[in-house]
C-alpha cells in the first residue's frame, strides 16, 4: 500500500507537509489584517504616518476617547445594530421553523409547489426590489424605523431550507401524532414540543441570522437617515467619506476595531457550534 502511493503520487509525508504549509499560509492571510488593525488601533495619529511597526503603541485608550467624542455615534450604532440583529434573529428562526414545520408535518395539496416556490424565492436578489421596498415602507410609515429592517426577516428562505433539512432528520411525524392523541392543539404542539426539539438548529441559525443582519449594509443605508438610529455598517461607511471633520486615523482604526472585534470574540467562544453547524446543515448531495 505504502509503496503504491509513493510510486504513483507524492509520499504521504510530503503531502502532509504541503498541506500544513498551505493551511498556515491561508490562516496567515485570514488573520494578518486583524493583527495590523489591532496594532494600528493602539497608535497615535501622528505615529501612524511614520510607517508600520509590529509593537503595539500606547494610544489605545486615547483613541477610544477620540472615537467616542467624534460626531459619528459609534457606540449608539452598536446598540442599534444589537437591537436590530437580535430581533431579526428571533423572528427569523421562530417563523422559519414554523414555515418549515408547515411543509414538514402537513400533507396539504400545494405542499410541493410551495416548497419549490420558496426555493425559487431564494434566488431573487433582495436589491432588485429595493426601490419598491423604500417606497412601500415610506407609505406604511416605517421609513427611518428599525422595524423596516426587522420584520422582513420573518420570510427567510435560506433559514427555512436549513430548518426543513433538520426536521427531516430529527422530527418523526409519529411524535406529533402522539401529542395530538394527548389532545394538544396544533399551536401548542409547535411551541412546546417542536421548538424545543429544534433548539440546536435554532441556535445555529440564530447566529447566522444575527451575523447577516449585523453586517447588512445596502438596505439600512436606504431606510435609516437619522444619525442616532443608524447601524454600525452605515457609520463605518461614513468614516470613508467624512469630509469636514479632522481625520484622526487612530480613531478610524479604533472604530473599525470596535465593530469587528466583538464579533470575533463571540465567534471564538461559539466557534464549535458555528463551524459544526455549517457542516451539519450543508446541502446534502
Amino acid at each position: 500500500m505504502k509503496n503504491n502511493t509513493t510510486s504513483k503520487g507524492l509520499g504521504i509525508h510530503t503531502r502532509r507537509a504541503i498541506a500544513y504549509i498551505i493551511l498556515i499560509l491561508l490562516s496567515f492571510f485570514c488573520l494578518i489584517w486583524f493583527f495590523i488593525l489591532f496594532i494600528n488601533a493602539t497608535r497615535a495619529n501622528s505615529e501612524l504616518g511614520t510607517g508600520f511597526t509590529i509593537v503595539p503603541g500606547t494610544y489605545l485608550l486615547k483613541n477610544w476617547e477620540t472615537m467616542i467624542h467624534r460626531p459619528i455615534p459609534i457606540v449608539r450604532g452598536m446598540f442599534n445594530s444589537l437591537f436590530v440583529a437580535t430581533m431579526s434573529a428571533i423572528l427569523c428562526t421562530y417563523f422559519s421553523s414554523m414555515t418549515a414545520y408547515a411543509i414538514h408535518a402537513y400533507e396539504f395539496k400545494a405542499r410541493k409547489a410551495v416548497f419549490t416556490l420558496i426555493l425559487m424565492i431564494m434566488t431573487i436578489p433582495t436589491q432588485v426590489s429595493a426601490l419598491g421596498f423604500i417606497q412601500l415602507i415610506g407609505n406604511i410609515g416605517l421609513r427611518d424605523s428599525h422595524w423596516a429592517l426587522i420584520l422582513p426577516s420573518i420570510a427567510a428562505p435560506v433559514t427555512f431550507f436549513y430548518m426543513k433539512q433538520y426536521m427531516d432528520s430529527t422530527l418523526p411525524l409519529s411524535l406529533i401524532e402522539a401529542a395530538r392523541i394527548d389532545g394538544a392543539g396544533e399551536f401548542k404542539i409547535f411551541n412546546t414540543m417542536v421548538v424545543p426539539l429544534m433548539k440546536p438548529a435554532i441556535a445555529v441559525q440564530a447566529i447566522f441570522c444575527f451575523v447577516g443582519s449585523w453586517n447588512n449594509f445596502f438596505v439600512p443605508t436606504l431606510v435609516l437617515d437619522t444619525e442616532t438610529k443608524k447601524t454600525l455598517p452605515i457609520l463605518i461607511a461614513e468614516l470613508r467619506n467624512t469630509d469636514w471633520a479632522t481625520f484622526d486615523m487612530g480613531a478610524v482604526y479604533m472604530s473599525i476595531a470596535f465593530s469587528i472585534f466583538p464579533v470575533i470574540i463571540v465567534y471564538l467562544i461559539l466557534s464549535k457550534h458555528i463551524v459544526g453547524g455549517m457542516t451539519l446543515g450543508g446541502v446534502k448531495g
Partner: protein, 459 residues
C-alpha cells in the same frame, strides 16, 4: 378565488407604491405655494423646527442666542417655544433628501411639524434659493440694510434670480494660501508673508515656485484638488448652459496646470490626488512635513490641520498665511427661513441676532475663532495684535483672508454646482494619475453627471 385575490393584491400594491410614493408630491408642492398666505395670519407656533446636517450652528445658537435654554442634544427652549433640531448627516445627500421630504410635506404638515429654519451650503444654495422654499428675508421684515456689513459674496450665494436675498450667514469663509514657514525659509529664503506672496502672486509664479519646491524635495501641494476651489470660484461661465454641460476655460486651466504638476511630481500623488486622505495630511506633522502649502479658510487652520495635536506643524506655530494667486472661499453655512413657517418673528430675530448683532459676532470671533460675516468687526480684529494666531507663529491672518474674497464673483453659480464640482474633481484624478486620457476622464464625468441629473445632456 385565490388567483383573483393575488391579482387584486398586486394591483393595490402597484397603485399604492406608485401613486402614494410619487404622485402625491406634485400636488403637495402646489399646495405649499398657497400655504404661506394661509399661515401668515397665525404666528408664534409652539415648536421651532430647525433642519441642519451637523451641530456647528447649533453650538453657536446654544452659546450666544439670548434666552436659549438647552434641554438636551436635539431640543431646547426659547421662552415658551420648543426648539427642535433635526440633524441629518450630509453623507450621500441624506441631509438634502430629508429636507426635501419635509419641504414637500410642508403644506400638509401640522404646524408643529413644519420646517421653520433650514441651513444650506453654497454648492447647492440655488436649489432652495431659486424656489419658493426659502422666504425672502424682506418678508420677515429684514431689508437689505440690515445686512449691509456682510461680505458681498456671502449675499450673492443666497440671492435668487430676482435679486431677492433669501438667507444669511454668520461666518465668512474666505480662503488663503497657508504655507509651511520652515520650508519657505529653506527654499525661498524667507518666511515673511509679503515676500512669499511675491512667489505665488499669480499662477505662472506659482508654477515656478512649484518647480523650486520639487528641486528641494518638497511637494507644492498635498493633493491635486487643493487648488480646485481657487479656479472654480473664478469662472466666467456656468456648469450648465442650455441644458448641456459646459467646461469653463478656468476649469480647463486648472486641469492643465494640475496635470503638468502631477506629471512632474510636484504634487503628492500618494494621496491619490484627493483631499482628506491619510497621505494628504502628512504635511500637517513636523516629522513627515513634505508639503509647501495648503489652500484654506480660517476654520481649516483651526479645525482641520491637526494643530492641537502634539508633533503637528501648527502646534509649533509653523504655518503662515498669504493671499495666493486668486481669491476664493471654502465652506460656510447659510440660514434660510422656510416658506410656511409658523414662527416668523422668532425666525427673523434669530437670523438677525446670529448674523448681524455686533456683540454676538464679536464673541464668536473671540471664543470660537470663526471668521464672522461682518466687515467692520473683522477689520477691527485684523488690526488687533492680540488676535495673532498661535498656529501661525503669531501672525494675524484676518486681514489677508478679507482681502482676497472681494474679487470673488458668484454670478456663475448654478443649481448643478455640487454634483459637477464633486464628479469633475473625482473623474480628473484618474487623468492626473495617468490612468486615463483627458477625453476618457471627461467621459466618466459625463456618465456620472447624466446619471445624477437626468435633465442635462453631455454634449
Amino acid at each position: 378565488m385565490k388567483r383573483k385575490l393575488i391579482s387584486a393584491l398586486l394591483c393595490a400594491a402597484m397603485a399604492t407604491t406608485l401613486l402614494a410614493g410619487c404622485g402625491g408630491k406634485t400636488t403637495d408642492t402646489n399646495k405649499a405655494n398657497n400655504a404661506s398666505s394661509n399661515n401668515e395670519a397665525k404666528d408664534g407656533g409652539d415648536v421651532l423646527n430647525i433642519y441642519v446636517w451637523n451641530t456647528e450652528w447649533q453650538e453657536r445658537v446654544v452659546a450666544y442666542y439670548p434666552n436659549y435654554e438647552k434641554v438636551d442634544d436635539t431640543t431646547g427652549k426659547i421662552g415658551d417655544v420648543t426648539v427642535n433640531w433635526v440633524i441629518t448627516a450630509n453623507q450621500d445627500n441624506a441631509y438634502q433628501n430629508k429636507l426635501d421630504e419635509a419641504l414637500d410635506n410642508q403644506a400638509t404638515a401640522k404646524d408643529d411639524d413644519k420646517v421653520d429654519i433650514f441651513l444650506i451650503e453654497a454648492d447647492y444654495a440655488l436649489k432652495y434659493v431659486d424656489t419658493p422654499d426659502a422666504l425672502p428675508l424682506s418678508e420677515l421684515g429684514l431689508d437689505d440694510s440690515v445686512f449691509a456689513n456682510q461680505y458681498q459674496y456671502t449675499k450673492d450665494v443666497v440671492t435668487d434670480s430676482n435679486g431677492q436675498l433669501k438667507g444669511a450667514s454668520w461666518q465668512g469663509c474666505p480662503g488663503a494660501l497657508i504655507y509651511n514657514r520652515e520650508i519657505a525659509k529653506k527654499v525661498l529664503g524667507t518666511d515673511d508673508p509679503a515676500k512669499v506672496q511675491e512667489a505665488v502672486s499669480d499662477w505662472d509664479k506659482y508654477a515656478e515656485t512649484a518647480a523650486k519646491m520639487q528641486a528641494a524635495g518638497y511637494f507644492m501641494t498635498a493633493g491635486a484638488t487643493d487648488s480646485y476651489r481657487v479656479f472654480s470660484n473664478n469662472v466666467s461661465s456656468k456648469w450648465v448652459v442650455d441644458g448641456k454641460i459646459n467646461i469653463d476655460p478656468n476649469i480647463k486651466k486648472w486641469v492643465d496646470m494640475t496635470k503638468e504638476q502631477a506629471d512632474k511630481k510636484q504634487i503628492n500623488s500618494a494621496s491619490s490626488y484627493n483631499l482628506w486622505q491619510e497621505d494628504w495630511k502628512k504635511g500637517f506633522f513636523t516629522d513627515t512635513a513634505n508639503v509647501f502649502c495648503y489652500f484654506g479658510p480660517a476654520w481649516f487652520i483651526d479645525f482641520s490641520m491637526s494643530c492641537d495635536q502634539d508633533g503637528s506643524v501648527g502646534s509649533a506655530g509653523g504655518w503662515a498665511v498669504t493671499q495666493g494667486p486668486q481669491g476664493f472661499f471654502w465652506g460656510g453655512t447659510w440660514i434660510c427661513a422656510a416658506n410656511g413657517t409658523d414662527n416668523k418673528d422668532l425666525v427673523a430675530d434669530i437670523i438677525k441676532t446670529m448674523t448681524t448683532d455686533p456683540t454676538v459676532l464679536s464673541k464668536i470671533v473671540e471664543e470660537k475663532s470663526d471668521f464672522v460675516n461682518d466687515q467692520t468687526i473683522m477689520e477691527k480684529y485684523a488690526k488687533d495684535e492680540k488676535f495673532g494666531n498661535k498656529y501661525l507663529g503669531g501672525q494675524n491672518p484676518y486681514g489677508i483672508f478679507a482681502s482676497g474674497v472681494s474679487s470673488v464673483s458668484l454670478a456663475n453659480q448654478s443649481a448643478y454646482d455640487q454634483g459637477c464640482n464633486e464628479e469633475f474633481q473625482n473623474a480628473m484624478t484618474d487623468y492626473f494619475a495617468g490612468k486615463a486620457t483627458y477625453e476618457e476622464a471627461l467621459q466618466t464625468f459625463y456618465n456620472k453627471i447624466t446619471a445624477k441629473y437626468p435633465d442635462i445632456k453631455a454634449e
